[in-house]
Symmetry: C2
Subunit: 356 residues, 2 copies
C-alpha cells in the first residue's frame, strides 16, 4: 500500500467505554478529532462525562441503553467496559475503532507519535492471509511481499475483518502474572503485522481494536460481565473466540501486531483476580470448546453463525457453570437487538436489492 491511507472519516466510528481521564482525548485530538465518537458510559448514569470542545460525539449511559433496547438491554453489561459493544450496535458506520481511556499515544523507535488509527485502517483495507504463513509477515506492507514457496493461488488473500493492536508499557497480563511480575513493562516495539492463521485462536484484547462492522460486527458481543455477573475481564476474550471461529468459517481474516498504543495504567491485580478467577478455570474448557467448534455450511451470515454458536454454548458449556446458559441466551438477545437496530444490514440490503 504505497498510496496515502484514506482517513475514512465518514465511514468509521470511535467507540470508547467511558472517559475517566481528561487528558485522554486531548492527547488523541490530532488523530481522533476528525471522527465521530460514541461513548458508552460504563458506570453511574447520574455522573457526567466531560468531553473537550471540538469533538463530535454521542454519549449513552445506562438509562439510554434501557430506553433504546427495552427488555433486550439485559444483554448489555453494566458497570463494566463490556458495555462498549452497545456502541458497535448503534453505530451506522462500516468500521469501528475501540480504545480504552488509559491508552495514550505511543511513540515508535524513532520517537515519532504513532497514529494508531491510520495503521488500523491500513491493516483492515489490505487483505489477510490465513491459509499459509508468510515469514516476512504482512505481505501487503510497503517493502514486503510473499516469500518463495508461497502458493500463488493464495496471494489474493481474503478480506480483513479485524485489526488487533498491541500495547507498549503495561502489558495486558492476567492477575496472576501481574502479581508475579508487577514491574514488567513491554518495551519491545515489534514492527510487524501478521494474519492469525486459520484454525488458531488468540486472546483478543479490546483496548486497541478495529474491525469491519459490516463483515463481523454482530460477532463482537462483549458478553455479560461486571455488575451481577460472576466474572469480569473476559469480555474481549469471549468476543475474540467467537469472532475467530466465525471469521475462519466465513473465510475472513484477523490481523494482529501494529499499531501500538501506550498503556498508561496497570489495573489493580487484586481486583482483577477477583474478576478473573472463575475465568481462569473456565477458559480451560472454553478454549477446547471453541477449538473444536464447527459451524454448518448453511451458516452464511455472521448472525446465523452467532446463533449457531449460542446453541453450542448452551449445549456444551452450561455444564461448566449455569452462567453459560444465561450467556447463551444473552447471545441470542444481542443478535435480536442488533437486527432490530440494523434492519438494513448488508444481508437485508442484498435481499431488498434482489426483490426489486
Amino acid at each position: 500500500m504505497a498510496s496515502a491511507t484514506p482517513l475514512l472519516t465518514d465511514e468509521l466510528d470511535i467507540v470508547i467505554p467511558t472517559i475517566r481521564n481528561l487528558d485522554f482525548l486531548e492527547m488523541w485530538r490530532p488523530f481522533l478529532q476528525p471522527y465521530h465518537l460514541i461513548i458508552v458510559q460504563d458506570g453511574d448514569p447520574t455522573k457526567t462525562i466531560k468531553v473537550p470542545d471540538g469533538f463530535d460525539y454521542e454519549l449513552y449511559n445506562r438509562n439510554d441503553i434501557n430506553r433504546i433496547l427495552g427488555p433486550r438491554s439485559s444483554c448489555i453489561s453494566f458497570k463494566d467496559s463490556a458495555c462498549r459493544c452497545f456502541g458497535y450496535m448503534v453505530s451506522k458506520k462500516k468500521y469501528i475503532f475501540t480504545i480504552d481511556d488509559d491508552c495514550f499515544v505511543a511513540t515508535d523507535p524513532s520517537g515519532k507519535p504513532v497514529n494508531a488509527l491510520e495503521q488500523h485502517i491500513k491493516n483492515i483495507l489490505s487483505p489477510s492471509t490465513p491459509f499459509f504463513f508468510n515469514t516476512l509477515y504482512d505481505p501487503f506492507r510497503d517493502g514486503a511481499d510473499f516469500v518463495r514457496g508461497y502458493p500463488f493461488s493464495l496471494r489474493e488473500g481474503v478480506p480483513t475483518a479485524v485489526s488487533h493492536g498491541l500495547w507498549l508499557n503495561i502489558p495486558d497480563y492476567d492477575a496472576p502474572t501481574q502479581l508475579v511480575k508487577p514491574l514488567e513493562r513491554n518495551t519491545r516495539f515489534v514492527d510487524a503485522v501478521l494474519t492469525i492463521p486459520k484454525g488458531t485462536l488468540f486472546p483478543m484484547c479490546g483496548m486497541n481494536l478495529a474491525f469491519d462492522r459490516d463483515l463481523i460486527g454482530p460477532a463482537m458481543y462483549f458478553g455479560l460481565m461486571g455488575d451481577g455477573q460472576p466474572i469480569g475481564r473476559y469480555d474481549d476474550m469471549w468476543a475474540g473466540w467467537c469472532t475467530k471461529v466465525i471469521t475462519d468459517h466465513l473465510g475472513l481474516g484477523v490481523k494482529t501486531g501494529l499499531p501500538y498504543i501506550y498503556h498508561s495504567k496497570a489495573s489493580n491485580p487484586f481486583v482483577n483476580l477477583r474478576k478473573e478467577y472463575k475465568g481462569i478455570f473456565w477458559q480451560e474448557e472454553i478454549i477446547p470448546f471453541f477449538q473444536s467448534a464447527v459451524l454448518p455450511k448453511d451458516c452464511t451470515t455472521v448472525q446465523a453463525c452467532y446463533i449457531e454458536l449460542s446453541k453450542q454454548v448452551k449445549e456444551k458449556l452450561s455444564k461448566v457453570d449455569p452462567y453459560f446458559d444465561k450467556l447463551a441466551d444473552a447471545m441470542v438477545t444481542w443478535i435480536e437487538a442488533w437486527d432490530e437496530l440494523n434492519p438494513n444490514g448488508p444481508g437485508a440490503k442484498l435481499a431488498n436489492g434482489k426483490a426489486k
Copy 2:
C-alpha cells in the same frame, strides 16, 4: 531466559553447502570459530574449497558421498545446495545450524552485529507454543510473557524442534517476484520470534536455519534437486512441509523470526525461473496435500512418520508428475541411509535401554 545462553559448542554442528566466498567465514569467525563445521561441496569434486586457518571442519564432496552411502547416495542431490542434508546425516551432534555462504552478519537497529547462532540457541532451548497464539509473540523471551486469556494449561509449551531465521537486504523471493521487484530490499528489522501455530504450513528457507537433530533430523531431507532433476529451489520448502506436518503430529514446535542474517547477493532470477517454474505449478497441489495429510497414531518416531509420508506422496502426488514417484522412493532411501549412519539414534538408544 534471563541467564546467559549456553554456547553448546560440543553439541552443535554448522552445516554449509559449499563455500564460494572467502570473506564468508572471516566475517563469521567471531561467532562460528568455536564450532565444528561440516562443509558439503555442492559442485565439481575436483575443485578445492579453501577454508581459512583456525576453523575445525570436515569437508565432503560428491566422491565422499558416493563412497559413504554407496547406492543410497542417489538420494543426495548433486550440483545443488540441497546436498547439505548429507551433512545433517553424518553429524553426530544434537543440534544443527545451516547457513548459506552468501549470508553475512546482520546488524540490529542499534548497529550491533547479530550473533545469529546465539539467537537460534535461545529459540531452540526455550519451548514453543503451537496450540494458541500469544499476541506478545514468544512468551519465553526476556520482558515478555503469556498475555491475559492464554490458558494456563498450555503455558509449559512443547519442545522446539526448529528455529527459522530471516534475512535482511535481499529477501527470499521466488523468480517472478524477483523479476517484478528487482530493487526491493528487506530493511525491516522485526524484533520478534514466534511459534508457527499447529496446523499451519510455512515456507521454510534453508539459508539461516537451526534444528534439533535428535528431535526432527530425519525429516530434514532436502529432496532431489539440481543435476538430473526437473526442479530446483524447492529443497528447503520440501523439508519444511514434511517437517511441519511431522512436528505437528509429534507435538513439537517450530519458531520463526529472529535471528536475521544479511543476505548479500540476489541469485539470478532467470536461472531461478528455470529451476522453479515446475514448482510454481506443483506447489498448488503439494500444499493442499500437506495441509490435509494425517499421520496415524502409531507413527511415534520421525522415521516412521517420514516413511508414512513417503507412501502418501507416492499415492497422491505421483499423478502430478512422475518426479514424485522418484522422490517418494528417495525419501525411503534417505531414511535407510540415516538409520545406517545413525544406528544409535534416540529410538535405538531407548530400545537398547529397555532391553537391558
